[in-house]
Amino acid sequence: MKTKKVEQGTLLVLLLMAVIYPFLSDRYMLSVGISVLLMALLGQSWNIMSGYAGQFSFGHAAFFGLGAYASSILYVDHGVSPWIGMIAGMAVAALVGVLIGFLSFRYKLRGDFFALVTLAFAEILRVLFNNTKALKAATGILIPYKDVWSEFQFANDRIFYFILLAMVIAATIFIGLMSRRKFGVCLIAIKENQEAAGSLGVPVLKYKLLAMAISAAIAAMAGTFYAQYYGFIDPTVVFSAAISVEAIVPCIIGGAGTLGGPLLGALIIVPLKELSNNLFEGVNGVNMIIYGVLIVLFVVFCRDGIYGTVIRRLKGARS
């Protein structure tokens, strides 16, 4: 019960901060806020499939990229509103996720081999998009600027911010509801011991695929947002391993398999990166060294992440 109160309290504080923040910040600070939220959304997406269901993905860029490309191609080539394109992208990503999952689980890939397969699929998509004329190849796609809300474009970045915030809140509420219901409890059971879960009648394959589909769809949503907000995408960015890592890191810093972990993780890592960028201006790479050191430190000394460790302590778990 204490755990629940702490969780709700933390989330409430985070929410309040997130709502007030854009009114206190300038253009630059707002863009940092959007980076935080985007990472949080990617983190929550990864959290479902890897944090809760325990299927370690190293290729979330595949879904992110598909989301970005689906909406952008539909918009630029066919004039379809990116709002609808976003839904289409989510559907495509979910399908691809289910396909990757089905093949991997069918051939009983586990652990790091599963991670490597997801990475390989993301790389294949990168090469495919980079070399296919019909998909604009390496030139990428420039989203023409119009200030029309029905086309997912806004002159005011604050609106972008709040739309992204709404997405993060929706994803978080979804996970919160899920974790107390059959689906969520069974996903944790699958993560802890797949055989035991199966022997209790849990539809293991179906649930794992469902988790992948939902996770992929959320990553695709983040992809569409990225395309609309930044206005330009190309395969080397949206399908890059860096995006896949961006989905993982907030969960590692904050705590995978927890409701607030990825949010807290994103809130720590993005400002830290910005700070080191500004401090060591002109020296490329320092921010990434800090990033690397953080990953190493957390993996070695705080494997459950900050939020995850607190929750475990509250529940009285063995460390």
């Binding site: 055989e195 209790l200 539809p203 529940k315 778990a317 063995r318």
Partner: protein, 241 residues
């Protein structure tokens, strides 16, 4: 009437035969025991029955259907549940949630799943610990949790794989009573056991396995006096309590 029939099941791993033409019948409402030395193939046979492995050849008939190709999940829906020799608790879930995972098997709602879970926990005597994390339970409690989870699936047949392993004498006695109690509620049981007095006391009928084959069967008294069985248990006669 037999709820479960195993006919001529073989299972080999890359040429190594672990179960060799084994057959057994489990009668409805009874406790059937399966004994044998370490490595006799009992657990492998169990795994073939419960859908964890697929038998290389032979048939498993459950409720008049061939089920040797069905998965553990399907069998669980059909009313067959099992426990594992090494308890496999979902460590980061609470005891209640652990059992609720089983409860969802037959439940139509979340409330009902948790009702099933509470009932099972009550039956095995773990209800006081329902809020605890499963990883904090001791060995005896983990066994009970394992049993409670299987019970929550509302099984008609329960397969128990060495539920006494690692228990203190007091815990063992409790477990014997518990299994008897479960059987009296109408659940058919097939159990593997190492501790002879336990299985002799509980079982209605016993099968003996050695090197993958069934070497004897019968009611406890017959099996205890069967020369082949005595031989395979180091020449010592078995006592029936």
């Amino acid at each position: 009437m037999e709820t479960l029939k195993v006919i001529d099941v073989c299972k080999s791993f890359q040429g190594n035969v672990a179960v060799d033409h084994a057959s057994l019948d489990v009668k409805e409402g009874e406790i059937t025991g399966l004994i044998g030395a370490n490595g006799a193939g009992k657990t492998t046979l169990f795994n073939c029955i419960s859908g964890y492995y697929h038998a290389t050849s032979g048939k498993v008939i459950y409720k008049d259907q061939e089920v040797q190709h069905k998965t553990a999940e399907k069998l669980c829906h059909m009313g067959m549940a099992r426990t594992f020799q090494i308890a496999k608790p979902f460590g980061m879930l609470s005891v209640l949630d652990n059992v609720a995972v089983g409860g969802y098997n037959k439940a139509n709602s979340r409330t009902q799943a948790y009702e099933f879970a509470e009932q099972s926990l009550d039956l095995v005597g773990l209800i006081d610990k329902k809020e605890n994390l499963a990883q904090l339970l001791n060995t005896g409690e983990q066994r009970k949790l394992e049993l409670a989870r299987a019970l929550a699936t509302q099984p008609e047949v329960l397969l128990l794989d060495e539920v006494m392993a690692g228990l203190t004498p007091t815990e063992s006695r409790e477990m014997v009573e518990l299994i008897d109690k479960i059987n009296k509620t109408g659940i058919t049981i097939l159990m593997i056991e190492h501790i002879m007095p336990v299985i002799m006391k509980l079982s209605h009928y016993i099968y003996v396995m050695e090197r993958g084959k069934m070497i004897a069967e019968g009611i406890p008294v017959e099996v205890a006096n069967n020369p082949k069985v005595i031989e395979s248990y180091l020449g010592k006669g078995l006592e029936v309590e």
